[in-house]
């Protein structure tokens, strides 16, 4: 199960080794050419030379934590890699380092708190990871400073054709890209699995420059907050509403012609879609479209509830539709459906 393998793999920004190796193994039988760059992004190309050069992007990295200090009592202090609200960390387990050693982030028992304490969130500097070490020396045997951690969450299906896991942002994009690379297209196609999106779209910046695409599409897991009490304009996307197309986010104003083209493809193939309705957040296309002379393109996103938290939820229908839409768009381009 691709989504399970990808979401349970480790890969905080700058530490994408495990996820990269998994993806490489998965795509290698299907692609003609594969290479990595100096930052660690992984590229897969076909051999077609004629037609617009298309770049499909998905970032491999995920938000995580880094161990920055070991206390005398053996508890570990940490800092986040990427945007994590510390309020989601309390009472959650993590897996540390390549050994994936379990650690837990606990909190003072409610019995010993003043009522006032409960109303104040615990900050990163009040939280510790507990690996069961007796003291600093004991902890140092198995953990070193700079080790990184990810949420310990299993991929499981739940509800109405939905799934729960960590790191759907952006392993769902990686899965869509892998499925797309397994298909054959008569157009030059580069799949870029990039690094360090969560700390500022860094892998994609170098990737856009290197690939020099005519058209680029970022495949993403995006903000979805269609929950009780959330105003409609604050929801961004709706779970199960189909893949979301970006109109404007913090880094990109969609190219109107390309957005209209993507919409027309979706409608032609009866693939549900929605427009992403918040300005906040961004994806790799924000970096790619500014490389060299500029790049035309956009983003196709799967709505992710509780993004950047330990247990994220997607609709598997949205995921399947995103795969269909991506394929349909690449085919339409290869058939001359979009002129730059």
């Amino acid at each position: 199960m691709l989504l399970k393998t990808l979401t349970e793999a480790m890969g905080p920004s700058g530490f994408e080794d495990e996820i990269r190796n998994l993806i490489r193994e998965e795509v290698s039988p299907h692609v003609a050419k594969m290479y990595t760059d100096v930052l660690g992004s992984l590229y897969c190309e076909n051999t077609v030379q004629t037609g617009p050069r298309i770049m499909l992007d998905a970032h491999m990295d995920e938000v995580g934590l880094m161990i920055v200090h070991i206390e005398e009592n053996g508890l570990l202090r940490f800092k986040p890699i990427g945007g994590i609200d510390p309020r989601v960390l309390v009472s959650k387990p993590v897996q540390i380092g390549t050994e994936k050693r379990f650690g837990v982030i606990g909190a003072k028992p409610i019995h010993l708190q003043s009522p006032d304490e409960r109303t104040k969130p615990l900050g990163i500097n009040q939280l510790y990871i507990d690996i069961g070490a007796k003291d600093k020396k004991d902890a140092e045997q198995v953990v070193k400073l700079g080790d990184v951690c990810v949420f310990a969450t299993r991929y499981e299906e739940l509800g109405d054709n939905c799934a729960k896991a960590k790191s759907f942002d952006d392993r769902v994009g990686c899965a869509i890209l892998i499925e797309t690379l397994k298909k054959q297209f008569q157009v030059p196609l580069v799949g870029a699995f990039t690094v360090q999106e969560e700390v500022g779209l860094r892998g994609a910046t170098a990737a856009g420059y290197r690939v020099q695409p005519d058209i680029a599409i970022a495949l993403e897991g995006t903000v979805c907050f269609d929950v009780v009490g959330a105003p409609s304009h604050g929801q961004s996307t709706v779970l199960g509403g189909g893949p979301a197309l970006t109109v404007q986010d913090s880094q990109t104003i969609a190219d109107r012609a390309f957005l209209e083209f993507m919409i027309s493809v979706a409608e032609k193939h009866n693939i549900p879609y929605q427009l992403r309705r918040v300005k906040g957040g961004s994806n790799d296309f924000g970096a790619i479209h500014k490389t060299r002379d500029g790049v035309i393109g956009g983003g196709i996103s799967v709505p992710v509830r509780y993004i950047h938290a330990p247990a994220q939820i997607i609709s598997l229908e949205d995921y399947q539709n995103a795969i269909l839409l991506t394929e349909a768009i690449v085919r339409a381009i290869s058939e001359g459906g979009f002129t730059i």
Binding site: D85, V88, V90, F102, K120, I131, K164, P310
Partner: protein, 354 residues
């Protein structure tokens, strides 16, 4: 390291779900575990599981009750909101800050899995980040259409935490419901050790219900069993930064033996002397009134019962990553077994002599 006779049993018990008033699933696992030591097992009206292991004392044998509550803290569905999101109230004390982003199990017509929602940081203002949401503002997402949620879930359905148990360094275990299934494991370790000792006393092992809402099972268990000595086994607080020193016990340094008004002085001395005599590590826990354990109910059951309280320290009590040491469970079991083996009819007669 000492032998871990019942570690697997503990992991099995931790995987069960059962909050106050719906302990059946856990009770069934407990009955299976107790049946290794006796066939004399009954269940009382409230649901307490009561198992008797006889000593050699015959009809006049002293009776010692070892009791550990088997319920875990839980939530109860109070409302199904538009979109199928569930609102909850608590059944046992939660820190709502530990629930954000937490996976849960909803015990409805079907067993459903859910996630307690959190707002994405992308949409959260700096002002919002300074606030911790109260329980009333949290909701459970079962990723299902509202119609289907309404057909499966009813107000009053119970919700428990989802967490797979993890093994950490130094024989430490982390997960949900260590409060108080670790104490059930202590009872089992005690019974195991007792098999190698001669004991006059009858042991009545109790897995009690509804402790988390106020020691309700303990009251009927104590009335029904009416033992000479009642020992409540329950977890206490392990050290972590920011806690008072007298409420900060060391993990792996042996069980905490309670002392204070709730504890019969002779029971305390018996436990302490047994530990000293057998070289079993222990820590001293002081209380200044009724303890927050089943022992509070035992002491005032019927005409009053000679009560002791003992248990292991765990970190992060009442959340899904409670962390304790199996070494402490083994030490506690050994201590209780030797204590029980030391009790004679004369000891019991002395309990009312001041």
């Amino acid at each position: 390291m000492e032998r871990e006779n019942h570690k697997e049993t503990l992991l099995h018990l931790l995987s069960g779900h059962g909050g106050p008033g719906f302990e059946e699933a856990v009770a069934s696992k407990v009955r299976t575990a107790f049946s290794e030591y006796t066939s004399e097992i009954r269940t009382d009206t409230l649901g307490n599981v009561i198992a008797t292991v006889h000593g050699f004392g015959g009809k006049s044998a002293p009776s010692i009750m070892l009791s550990a509550h088997m319920d875990e803290i839980a939530l109860v569905v109070t409302k199904i909101e538009a979109g199928g999101f569930l609102r909850v109230a608590q059944s046992g004390g939660f820190d709502p800050r530990t629930l954000v982003g937490q996976e849960v199990v909803v015990h409805s017509r079907e067993t459903l899995r859910g996630v307690i929602g959190s707002k994405p940081p992308h949409l959260t203002s700096p002002e919002e980040r300074k606030k911790a949401a109260p329980l009333e503002d949290l909701y459970i997402d079962v990723a299902m259409a509202e119609e289907r949620v309404r057909s499966l879930v009813r107000v009053g359905d119970r919700v428990t935490l989802h967490r797979e148990t993890m093994e950490l360094l130094n024989h430490r275990v982390s997960g949900k419901a260590l409060d108080n299934r670790t104490s059930i494991a202590i009872i089992l370790e005690t019974l195991k050790y007792l098999q190698g000792l001669k004991h006059q006393a009858d042991v009545i092992a109790v897995a009690s219900v509804q402790e988390e809402v106020g020691m309700r099972g303990a009251a009927t268990a104590a009335y029904g069993v009416n033992p000479d000595i009642a020992i409540a086994i329950d977890v206490t607080f392990a050290d972590m930064p920011g806690q008072d020193p007298d409420e900060s016990f060391k993990l792996g340094a042996g069980p905490a033996v309670s002392f204070g008004p709730n504890i019969h002085p002779k029971v305390f001395r018996g436990l302490r002397d047994t530990a000293d005599k057998n070289g079993i590590p222990y820590q001293l826990e002081l209380s200044q009134g009724p303890t927050g354990t089943d022992g509070a109910a035992f002491q005032i059951a019927r005409r009053g019962l000679a009560t002791g309280v003992i248990g292991i320290a765990i970190r992060y009590m009442h959340c899904s990553v409670e962390t304790g040491s199996y070494d402490d469970i083994v030490s506690c079991g050994r201590l209780l077994a030797h204590y029980i083996a030391s009790i004679t009819t004369e000891d019991v007669e002395g309990l009312s002599c001041y």
